[in-house]
């Protein structure tokens, strides 16, 4: 356990080098310490009982962790930026409104109308022989607002695996990440072609190769994870789907949450799967009903 040279930023290499032995010794002494954020959490009794007891017992015998708690306490109070304050208030109101709307309106109310029109575009990749996508808004590809998959009528003994529609955000369609001017949509087209044609092995391989080049794309880990589920590799699907969940915008949030829940359930992580399903169940999204059934 050490801050290896490649983890050091260029500005800190020189200074660190001169005190490295002392810092290495400090780190060696602290190998038994809980992570700093656990030490902080314990100070406000924010850990589950077992962990709280374990960390408290450690802190009682470790002056450095006691000092750390005191130092955290002494830090200048962090104010919440005005913009963040307004955003959270708006979010609370939206979430409150979502829950109280009649369920019959479903997921559409989660997406502001203006966003829905712009973002919810079904991409006809398979129909494009050259794998190139027309520019957003081109006459040959009118935007189509799609409904998310309808919840099934009957609960399945384990979550049934349905294939999600292929969709790309408008951001993805217009994103030009590579220096040669290739677009994200062009790069991802062959992989999504394979996905649409149920060639999941090919899709998964292609998406895995693309992933490092588009680290903030939600589409790549999402369709990679779902491909792995169809390949009956749920344990391998968890990582990509967790990434997709973290990156998901409104367009993908419910899909990513649902398929992550399915992967966890099928990989034997029933407790966390139930937690995921319970979160979806509390919302009014496309998977809410199925999630409620799975969360029971």
């Amino acid at each position: 356990m050490s801050v290896r040279p490649h983890n050091l930023e260029s500005w800190e290499r020189k200074e660190y080098g001169q005190v490295a032995p002392a810092l290495d010794e400090l780190r060696r002494q602290r190998e038994a310490c809980p992570p700093a954020f656990a030490v902080s959490a314990a100070a406000v009794f924010a850990l589950p009982d077992d962990e709280q007891s374990a960390v408290e017992a450690h802190v009682a015998s470790c002056s450095m962790c006691r000092d750390l708690q005191a130092d955290f306490e002494r830090l200048e109070p962090v104010g919440i930026p005005a913009r963040t304050e307004d955003r959270i208030l708006e979010e609370v109101r939206k979430r409150a409104a979502t829950k109280t709307r009649p369920a019959v309106f479903g997921w559409r109310l989660l997406v502001p109308a203006s966003v829905a029109v712009v973002v919810l575009v079904v991409v006809g990749i398979a129909g494009n022989r050259h794998g190139r996508l027309p520019a957003p808004g081109a006459p040959s590809l009118p935007p189509v607002v799609v409904a998310a998959p309808a919840p099934p009528a009957a609960p399945a003994p384990r979550p049934q695996l349905d294939k999600p529609a292929v969709k790309l955000s408008m951001l993805a369609l217009t994103w030009r990440g590579a220096s040669d001017g290739r677009s994200f949509a062009t790069d991802v087209a062959p992989a999504l072609d394979a996905f649409r044609a149920d060639r999941f092995d090919e899709a998964e391989r292609a998406l895995r190769v693309l992933a490092p080049h588009y680290p903030t794309s939600v589409e790549i880990p999402f369709y990679q994870g779902v491909s792995l589920l169809f390949l009956d590799r749920p344990a391998d699907a968890i990582g990509p789907l967790r990434r997709a969940s973290r990156l998901a915008d409104e367009l993908f949030a419910a899909d990513a949450g649902w398929y992550l829940g399915v992967a966890l359930q099928r990989a034997g992580h029933a407790t966390e799967a139930r937690t995921r399903f319970a979160a979806l169940c509390r919302g009014a999204g496309a998977y809410a009903r199925r999630a409620c059934e799975e969360a029971r």
Binding site: S40, P48, L75
Partner: protein, 155 residues
């Protein structure tokens, strides 16, 4: 109810956010916990005596933080890393290096997070509420001070 809720939100949001940051040491998660707490307040606003605020909100944050910890323990095997190993626990350490005069609380926190917990600069910023530039400044100062202290010089 809307006006009353917004007034309560504006009055308590700073304290709730600060408490949430103490619980999780991640700005983004602290914002989520703050949102969760005020959503709970919104839904129960008519039944809550305002004199119970912000304690009621802090209790929601604490409970949500605990739930999150439980999930993390399951997900990532954190329990093992949380439980001190008896053979290497030091009964009372001297804290020597970090006790160097001239280091303030913020410097010790940055040093510990960076070189013991091995967090990145952005993670330290998220944990402390500082900007990444401020974190860099504190680390530079701290390293210089430690070097000088080890060499018996002034920084």
């Amino acid at each position: 109810m809307q006006d009353g809720f917004e007034a309560a939100y504006r009055k308590h949001v700073d304290a709730v956010f600060r408490f949430a940051l103490s619980c999780v040491r991640r700005r983004d998660v602290a914002e989520d916990l703050t949102s969760d707490a005020f959503l709970a307040l919104f839904r129960n606003f008519d039944g809550i005596d305002e004199s119970r605020l912000p304690g009621w909100l802090l209790a929601v944050v604490r409970n949500r933080a605990r739930d999150r910890w439980r999930r993390q323990v399951i997900e990532q095997g954190y329990l093992q890393s949380l439980t001190p190993r008896p053979d290497v626990v030091r009964a009372e350490s001297d804290g020597g290096l970090l006790a160097s005069p001239g280091l303030k609380a913020i410097h010790r926190v940055c040093l510990r997070l960076r070189y013991v917990d091995e967090l990145s600069r952005s993670e330290i910023a998220s944990a402390t509420g500082l900007s990444e530039t401020q974190v860099k400044g504190h680390l530079q100062y701290s390293l210089r001070l430690l070097r000088a202290a080890l060499q018996g010089q002034k920084p």
